[in-house]
């Protein structure tokens, strides 16, 4: 008992300070009419902000845009990341160099990544449309129906390395004995992957998907750097929308309520998904 809480106490203490306080404070703001230009304490307005958030069609539209973005980006990152991690694990030649190099996109601040791709994908001065034209393709990266996927593509470029990093570490931590045993029994690579590697990797996979999804949920910089939410509101993500409401339009109280609605929905989804997962695992 003492050991358990002794080990946990520092974590909880730091958490209360860096997460607990800001969270409660933001929660308090979400019940006020606080504007950034206000002087003096704001008035408590009860659930008025929540009521307007719930009935705000643009908010829910932004929510849907973000959900689609997360599914596309994280789905691709997972598949590609797992394939690369499996390949890298067997890599012998120049392995450390390859690994570090493949991680590079992660270390660029997202705003710079967004700006770089804004020009790389620019139809007139960008290298990528130029190359595509060379093979006869004229593709409008930021056109209607496409811009969101372009942003997801940028996300894949920057964050697949994260999947690789995490899954590779996971692959290296799983015990070697079951793999050896299966190999001795004559299991093919696909069988070993499905029946041995994947189940053993499951906890790390879950964490990888969860963390990446939560991070992708906060996509802001790519939108800011390239489309500013356009065409129309096709790429207006929840983060961009909240930022505009809270900072550009000064209505921080309302923005806080949006943040908590998102939080409630996301946590519900996660907890339900986890309950399912646990039940499946114990079944």
């Amino acid at each position: 008992m003492r050991f358990k809480y002794g080990m946990l106490a520092p974590l909880i203490a730091v958490f209360v300070a860096v997460v607990g306080f800001p969270l409660l404070y933001a929660l308090y703001l979400s019940f006020t009419d606080y504007k950034l230009t206000d002087r003096g304490a704001p008035d408590i307005v009860g659930i008025a902000n929540y009521a307007s958030t719930f009935t705000n069609a643009s908010f829910w539209e932004a929510f849907g845009v973000t959900a689609l973005y997360v599914v596309v980006a994280v789905g691709l990152e997972l598949v590609i990341g797992l394939a690369i991690a499996l390949s890298l694990q067997k890599q012998k030649w120049a392995r450390d160099v390859t690994r570090s190099m493949l991680l590079a996109p992660m270390f660029i601040t997202p705003i710079a990544v967004g700006l770089t791709f804004r020009f790389l994908l620019n139809d007139q001065i960008g290298a990528i449309p130029e190359l595509l034209r060379g093979i006869g393709i004229n593709y409008d990266f930021f056109g209607p129906g496409r811009a969101l996927f372009t942003l997801a593509f940028i996300d894949v470029w920057q964050w697949t390395p994260f999947m690789v990093l995490l899954l590779l570490a996971g692959l290296e931590s799983i015990p070697k004995q079951p793999l050896e045993a299966a190999r001795v029994d004559g299991g093919g690579p696909w069988y070993i992957f499905r029946r041995i590697t994947l189940p053993l990797l499951a906890p790390v996979l879950v964490v990888a998907i969860l963390l990446r999804a939560l991070d992708a949920l906060k996509v802001f910089e790519y939108v800011y750097a390239t489309t500013r939410g356009g065409p129309g509101t096709e790429t207006q993500t929840i983060q961009y929308f909240t930022y505009q409401t809270g900072i550009q339009f000064f209505r921080l109280g309302e923005a806080s309520s949006m943040a908590f609605v998102v939080l409630a929905v996301v946590l519900t989804v996660i907890v339900v998904a986890f309950r399912r997962l646990e039940r499946n695992r114990s079944a």
Binding site: F21, T32, R39, D123, Q124, T227
Partner: protein
């Protein structure tokens, strides 16, 4: 391992956090310290001491101001000017968050025109009427009227102009000559010209239809050229008029036939690169981009010198302006005014504009020193014309939000996801809702 104990600890943690939160809530949004009482002084004694911290945007105009600080210190040796410069959005974020500081954070600020009404009505800016009127030889009437209209909120002046970013038509004279055209004077001519200027490897006009601010800022010039206006005479939004429809249809025609391919998300940056590299023959942009286009060491390279500036067809254009303003929680309001009034005074303004600063005073544009400085007398003539008939995108509070909403609808129309009529009536409805 009992469940109750676990949640007990968790609850204790929550309770502790709440206690801290409530304790700190005391300082929540208190909007800063007690305000320093304004002296209302116009002429600040030259032996005034103090430090003036200024938050500015990192633009060439700010660099010019920085270079003038040492000269200011020959007049006011005991005032330290401390300029922090950031890019636009960073600066805005930093500025609004500094409102929360219990201590004075900035003693003098520059404010963009959509913010003026919000800041002034929130009591964040010191009224400057008394100071302006009592400053010797200041001649505030010499400022271009559209600029002082921006600094005036409910008949009180809260700022003095820093620099303008009014738009105009920037075009490549060589391309125009080659096509045998002259500068357009009507909207129809503009639409025809840019289509005629379009060739296999050149666009007639590089447009900026990016959602939000950019497209509205550009399209409003077309609206003015079509004889429309953003607000009617009573100050109500007037975005669903026949003129607006004509303007948006013309805009879309030009976008589809004369703008570069796949340029729906283009903003200033892309358009400027396109024009400076000769891939587009013209653009609608800030008047002071002409010197940048004609700079042989800049992006234009060999094309430098070919570009010219003209007012929009019809003569009226969109105006943006930055203004100097003193926050009410300034720690050194007198010293701040000393600097603001000095840098905007007639004599210093001549120096500033000669160095490439954007114009604010009429007299400066007639000054021989300025006319001889190399950017060319006809450039200043065009700037003068532009500044005498220009209007900002928004009036009243909620400017940023109104601009964003209208700019979203316009972008939808250009993207083809909404009809012109639907987009304009939605834009009108949004503007009325936000500012009505």
């Amino acid at each position: 391992m009992s469940l109750t104990k676990k949640s007990g600890r968790f609850a204790a943690g929550v309770a502790l956090t709440s206690a801290i939160a409530i304790a700190l809530t005391g300082c929540a949004g208190s909007g800063g310290p007690a305000e320093v009482e304004s002296s209302g002084l116009g002429d600040i004694p030259t032996d005034t001491e103090g430090t003036v911290r200024i938050l500015m945007e990192n633009v060439p105009d700010t660099d010019i101001v920085k270079e003038l600080v040492s000269e200011f210190n020959t007049v006011y040796p005991d005032i330290t000017i401390d300029i922090e410069s950031l890019t636009f959005d960073q600066m805005r974020d930093k500025l609004v968050s500094s409102f929360q500081s219990p201590d004075p954070a900035y003693d003098l600020i520059v404010a963009d025109n959509p913010w003026m009404v919000d800041f002034a009505q929130a009591g964040f800016l010191e009224p400057l009427d008394e100071r302006i009127d009592s400053t010797t030889d200041y001649d505030a009437d010499d400022f271009f009227t559209p600029l002082t209209d921006i600094t005036t909120v409910d008949d009180v002046r809260y700022g003095v102009p820093f620099y303008n970013y009014a738009l105009g038509y920037l075009y490549n004279t060589a391309d125009y000559e080659e096509a045998g055209l002259s500068v357009p004077t009507t909207l129809d001519e503009l639409v025809d010209d840019v289509q005629q200027l379009t060739t296999a490897d050149r666009s007639g006009i590089a447009m900026q239809p990016q959602r939000g601010y950019k497209i509205f800022e550009e399209w409003a010039n077309w609206l003015f050229a079509a004889g429309g206006s953003i607000y009617d005479d009573e100050g109500n939004p007037s975005l669903d008029t026949p003129e607006a429809k004509a303007a948006l249809e013309a805009y879309i025609t030009a976008y589809e036939n004369a703008a570069p391919d796949n340029s729906l998300n283009w903003a200033f940056d892309e358009a400027f690169r396109s024009v400076s590299s000769g891939e587009a023959a013209s653009m609608i942009s800030y008047n002071w981009n002409l010197p940048a286009l004609n700079d042989p060491d800049g992006a234009s390279g060999d094309l430098a010198g070919q570009f010219k500036l003209a007012p929009m067809p019809g003569g009226k254009q969109v105006l943006g302006a930055w203004s100097w303003a003193i926050p009410t929680n300034s720690g050194a309001p007198d010293a701040a005014w000393a600097f603001a009034s000095w840098i905007t005074s007639k004599a210093v303004d001549v120096e500033r504009v000669s160095a490439g600063g954007a114009a604010i005073r009429e007299s400066t544009l007639e000054d021989q020193a300025v006319l001889d400085d190399g950017f060319g007398a006809d450039y200043y003539e065009a700037v003068k014309e532009i500044l005498s008939d220009a209007a900002p995108l928004s009036q009243g509070a909620g400017g940023e939000e109104m601009i964003q909403a209208v700019g979203t609808e316009l972008n939808e129309a250009v993207a083809g996801t909404k009809s012109v009529e639907d987009a304009l009536s939605a834009a009108q409805a949004a503007a009325v809702k936000i500012q009505g």
